[in-house]
């Protein structure tokens, strides 16, 4: 049994349980994402994968919305794109510096046209660096609480070394009891750095280590 839906004017059939994001991607399309990593369960936090659905009171997050029979999806819906862009603008406003050009965050900002002056400037994350591990570095000020590192450590690696911390604007991540990766159950696999969309967690390359 399959579910018939329409995405950007193209009719398609998907298996029950397929999310809108999976259906969009199966057709070769895409929508920007920040908290989504296809190796992990959808999380629904970043609200950047918003799409329009005919008859819905507002845009929906493609990553956590299951396809329903007869659904008509517009990945270019103006309201959905406006909300996604505004959300990315908010994210940029909490970082003390613009994201590095090669990061996913920078790419998503470019795709959504978030450039120039920010409409809602305000409090930014304070600089706090944890470089106690030989090659995993955590720059807390670059963390956007997408939860990808925590889920990589939980779902992919099973090490449970990372956690979300704080609440509201103070939300962030840390390893173990906040005493660095080495004092935690971290197995140094690097899955967290691999999935991080902002370089908040990075693997210091041998080259960079040589320069220290």
């Amino acid at each position: 049994m399959t579910i018939g839906i329409e995405i950007d004017g193209t009719a398609t059939e998907v298996a029950p349980g397929t999310t809108v994001l999976e259906a969009v991607r199966a057709l070769g399309g895409d929508v920007p994402v920040l908290c989504f990593d296809k190796r992990q369960d959808p999380f629904g936090a970043c609200r950047v994968c918003m799409v329009g659905v005919q008859g819905s009171p507002g845009p929906v997050a493609a990553c956590t919305t299951p396809c329903r029979e007869g659904m008509v999806v517009d990945t270019r819906d103006a309201t959905a794109r406006r909300i996604a862009a505004a959300t990315v603008e908010l994210v940029l406003s909490e970082l003390p510096q613009p994201p590095a050009e090669h990061t996913e965050l920078a790419a998503v900002a470019r795709e959504l046209g978030v450039t120039g002056e920010l409409r809602w400037p305000g409090e930014q994350h304070a600089h706090a660096h944890d470089e106690r591990h030989p090659y995993l570095a955590l720059q807390h000020e670059l963390c956007i609480s997408c939860g990808r590192c925590v889920r990589a450590c939980d779902e992919v690696q099973g090490a449970f070394a990372l956690t979300a911390t704080g609440r509201g604007f103070e939300a962030n991540v840390t390893a173990g009891l906040d005493a660095g990766f080495r004092e935690s159950t971290c197995v140094s696999c690097g899955a967290c750095a691999d999935t991080c969309p902002t370089d908040a967690i990075t693997e210091m390359s041998l080259l960079a280590l040589g320069e220290r």
């Binding site: 959808p42 936090a45 409409r119 609480s145 939980d154 779902e155 099973g158 103070e170 939300a171 159950t185």
Partner: protein, 555 residues
């Protein structure tokens, strides 16, 4: 639920089967024992609960109670909306100055600490302060705290306007449960509750019978009933009255829900801000157990049901059902995307009904007297049953009242609550909690019902009615509401986590607020947020923009 770790939930489930405490319970014990949480406490909590140390660390940095430093004397000042309406937050500044300690801090010598709390549920007698274990409230409270002569404030005296009170009946007889387990099968009870058209009283108004049916039909080894007693709405003390004065009614409602959906255990999540709730419910449960009403053979039938009472640790968003389930499992109280709904995958991954306390308290009458009798309670409008409302200290006769739906706010505010004290006038009302819109004083002829209030950009919500008098500074009110919104954001979804902070900053700075930018931010919150916290915090701000724009300091 998408976003709650399946691995952590499974760890919690397996340890629960071995009667292990949750990490949150262990951390709360440590706090009660020595006033702060150390890394050793976190290691012990990890050991006993089975959670990884990192996850315990995450929990310990989420809840207010675990974060606030405690002195030997710990003073918690209520910064709820009723207290704001009473003093404009003057009581907060006076306490900080008098105790010589900043809000959220502990004195250098460790003697005294002052923390914000929202809300203590003494809104009929604001402002309220909790000094150690004593909650004092009303005129002179600040002076008494500073003199060290605090005394327990009087509890509200609830009243019903009905000839036969439903939710506030003076005596409790378990007749509904007795009738159900002896003469009806579960399907019949479920059909009755559906026919009674019970709408959820927690705020969203979702039909309880439909929710029960989902849970009944969902596959699962076990099923659970969860009573949502996390009545966090500032200005609301309805569930407080039900849990503390009518605990058996709630337990009967839970047992009926369990019978209808095929559950064998229930949990009540109470608030740490209401220290009496958990003990009162535990006494009522023990009494019911001793009488053979709860336990392995409910009233001699082959239906088995018992309850566990769990106290939270300070978080408004834990009132959202997925966050509530996270808290019950001792995890960080963050919201998860739905589907799957709790009725499919809830506590310990099992089908779970999460109903508000008042919703469950509506069920015994339906089981006892039937759906027709229940629907007849509110003859004037579309909604069945009765509603508890509560009024803040600005009113002449504040308190909790049981009323029919569809009466006007004028009847409620003027006839029942007697208008405002000292000849003050109602400038505006906030109805149904912090996510409810604000009704200007010139619209009191609006009917108190779901659709009527929605048409005014307001909501029935949980039924709190907070009046602001003519002296209220509207910009200060907007700042107050957004401070609450930002402080209570769980931090999971980006629009709420950052957007409420920015909205608060726009008003708190004192500079003119750019209306276009504000409205674009409100739209992002409304359409982008994961749950109703970020989604509806703009509602009262929209009301103020519509009715009092000249008082907001807009550019």
């Amino acid at each position: 639920m998408m976003g709650m770790s399946h691995n952590l939930v499974e760890i919690v489930r397996r340890h629960h089967e071995q009667d292990a405490p949750t990490a949150l319970e262990v951390l709360k014990e440590a706090l009660e024992d020595h006033g702060e949480i150390t890394d050793d406490d976190r290691r012990v909590a990890a050991e006993r609960s089975g959670l990884p140390e990192a996850a315990v660390y995450g929990v310990s940095t989420f809840y207010d109670d675990l974060l606030q430093p405690r002195g030997r004397r710990h003073v918690r000042v209520c910064t709820g909306t009723a207290c704001f309406a009473a003093t404009g937050d003057v009581h907060v500044r006076q306490l900080a100055a008098g105790l010589d300690v900043q809000l959220g801090e502990r004195s250098g010598d460790g003697e005294v600490s002052l923390a914000e709390t929202v809300c203590l549920g003494f809104c009929h007698s604001s402002p309220a302060v909790r000094d150690g274990d004593t909650i004092d409230a009303g005129p002179g409270v600040v002076e008494r705290v500073l003199e060290g002569t605090t005394r327990a404030a009087s509890e509200p005296k609830p009243q019903s306007v009905l000839d036969q009170p439903v939710l506030l009946a003076p005596a409790h007889d378990w007749k509904g449960l007795r009738r159900a387990v002896s003469t009806r099968d579960p399907e019949t009870l479920l059909e009755q509750v559906k026919a009674a058209q019970v709408r959820g009283r927690g705020g969203a108004g979702f039909p309880a019978g439909t929710k029960w049916e989902f849970a009944r039909n969902a596959p699962g080894e076990r099923k659970f009933i969860v009573a949502n007693g996390d009545e966090g709405d500032p200005g609301s003390y309805i569930d407080k009255v039900l849990m503390e004065e009518h605990p058996a009614l709630l337990l009967e409602g839970m047992a009926l829900a369990a019978y209808a959906v095929g559950a064998d255990h229930g949990f009540v999540l109470t608030r740490s801000e209401y220290p009496r709730s958990k003990p009162e419910l535990e006494v009522a449960a023990a009494t019911a157990r001793a009488a053979g009403i709860l336990g392995p053979a409910v009233l001699g039938s082959n239906f088995s049901f018992d309850v566990t009472i769990v106290e939270g640790a300070g978080s408004y968003v834990v009132g959202e059902e997925t966050a509530l389930l996270a808290c019950l499992q001792g995890l960080r109280g963050t919201v998860s995307a739905r589907p799957p709904f709790p009725a499919q995958r809830g506590l310990h991954g099992m089908p779970t009904v999460v109903n508000n306390v008042e919703t469950l308290c509506n069920i015994p009458l339906i089981a006892r007297e039937g759906a027709e009798a229940y629907r007849a309670l509110s003859p004037g409008g579309p909604t069945s049953g009765t509603k508890l409302v509560c009024f803040n200290e600005r009113f002449e006769r504040p308190g909790v009242y049981e009323v029919p739906f569809a009466i006007t706010l004028r009847d409620l505010c003027e006839d029942l609550a007697g208008g405002l004290v000292d000849g003050h006038e109602i400038k505006a009302l906030q109805i149904g909690g912090p996510l409810g819109g604000i009704l200007p004083g010139w619209k009191l002829d609006t009917r108190f019902d779901f659709e009527d209030l929605e048409a005014e950009g307001c909501m029935l919500g949980h039924g709190a009615i907070v009046a602001f008098d003519e002296t209220t500074d509207i910009r200060a009110l907007a700042t107050h509401l957004l401070h609450f919104g930002a402080a209570e954001s769980c931090g999971k979804c980006f629009p709420c986590r950052i957007g409420l902070r920015r909205a608060h900053e726009m008003f708190a700075t004192g500079t003119p607020v750019d209306r276009d930018r504000l409205e674009a931010l409100l739209e992002t919150l409304e359409l982008g947020s994961l749950c109703a916290h970020g989604g509806a915090m703009p509602a009262p701000i929209r009301s103020l923009l519509a009715h009092f724009p000249e008082e907001l300091g807009l550019a």
